[in-house]
């Protein structure tokens, strides 16, 4: 049995605790980051706290191997004097949405092979897609993830806003959204690009801008320009 201690109280901590509770080879304990007076010992201590708390929380822990779960932070952000690592799950966790860990890429980093294999063992207990990723690579993945997840979701929100304003059901767009994602399984995003921007269809672009509010116009214009520049 490998003992895991999770410190944190957000979505990542909650989902991770739940999945480890179902893993036969792991015992898991979860505490809040405010309760660091009596930290239980564990083979692996996972800090699932906000990025800017990693440094302070880790500095207060003497457990053997301490890892954080942040895509944005380097392994050097950890300030424990013992061993360090990273257990980064490349997924967007929401409170009310179940997570299928077997589909999630788990990106691991450690200071030595033995610790890497320990992290790999607990990753294999919950997932199947495990990658050795160093801090530099992880930063890159994280910023790319912001574009394909956070910003994409915001475009969905704008689509939803436009539909709401004009009394059209947003659901009519769901098949198109699914197709947008299915396409890039077989085509590169450049090959999959369609629409008025890439066609240089100036009249349609002008008509679209007339239908939008100022914030939407700004985003429309900058993304249209970027699509056109990418293909010149």
């Amino acid at each position: 049995m490998i003992s895991v201690l999770i410190i944190g109280n957000g979505n990542v901590a909650t989902h991770l605790n739940n999945v480890f509770l179902n893993a036969d080879t792991i015992t898991v304990t979860k505490i809040k980051s405010r309760n660091l007076i009596n930290v239980p010992s564990a083979d692996i201590t996972i800090l699932a706290v906000s990025d800017d708390a990693i440094s302070e929380v880790s500095s207060k822990i003497n457990n053997t191997l301490v890892v954080h779960t942040s895509g944005a932070c380097s392994i050097t952000e950890l300030k424990n004097t013992t061993r360090k690592g990273v257990f980064y799950m490349l997924q967007s966790f929401s409170k009310d949405k179940e997570v299928n860990f077997s589909e999630i890429p788990i990106c691991l980093e450690a200071e030595n092979e033995k610790d890497y294999h320990l992290l790999e063992t607990i990753a294999q207990a919950i997932g199947t897609k495990i990658f050795k990723i160093n801090s530099e690579q992880r930063k890159t993945i994280h910023v790319a993830a912001v574009f394909v997840n956070n910003f994409t979701n915001h475009l969905f929100k704008i689509g939803n806003d436009i539909c709401k304003t004009n009394h059209v059901p947003f659901d009519i767009l769901q098949p198109l959204i699914k197709e947008t994602v299915l396409k890039i399984e077989t085509l590169t995003p450049s090959e999959a690009q369609t629409g008025p921007a890439i066609r240089n269809d100036e009249q349609t672009i002008k008509n679209h801008l007339d239908l939008l509010n100022k914030n939407q116009q700004e985003i429309y214009s900058i993304l249209t320009k970027s699509i056109q520049n990418a293909n010149n």
Copy 2:
């Protein structure tokens, strides 16, 4: 049997011709928009031409019912002196990607009930999701579609570019992209929003900007600001 004539030579014309060829109740003919000297007669003539060609091509056709396939154009763009309609398939068609018509919302418009039912009959022969949508509503859907499809795909391209530049496989992001779409089946896009923008995580935002080129920085900043304003 209903006779359909498709005029056009792009992706929409090709996919539509292929699916009608498989429909038992429809006979289909396809011609290029340059060959308008001897236009065969048909119950429904579908102009699958570029938006700016609709007016000119339609003005040369005397067939009974002429419809266009454009999301961006009003029914009044048609300049035939006979009956008019719209057969708009809300999907992104690429040359080398097969299309499942049964999943595609087909948005119909006609000048009278009889023509609407004729269009509905051929739509039912190839699809299952059929909507009565007028020209104003269709414009709205079309601009929303640009956000959720064209612009989303461009964000995927930027994610791909970032990965390529930093020698990380883009495939590692595919599960996250799928989850981004699955989430909005059960949550609204606002509820599904995560990431440094909505958390106001200034340090991560700054670190991300340092990793990007000028064009990427501009898009990152404007979308981050928009996410933050949407939730204030």
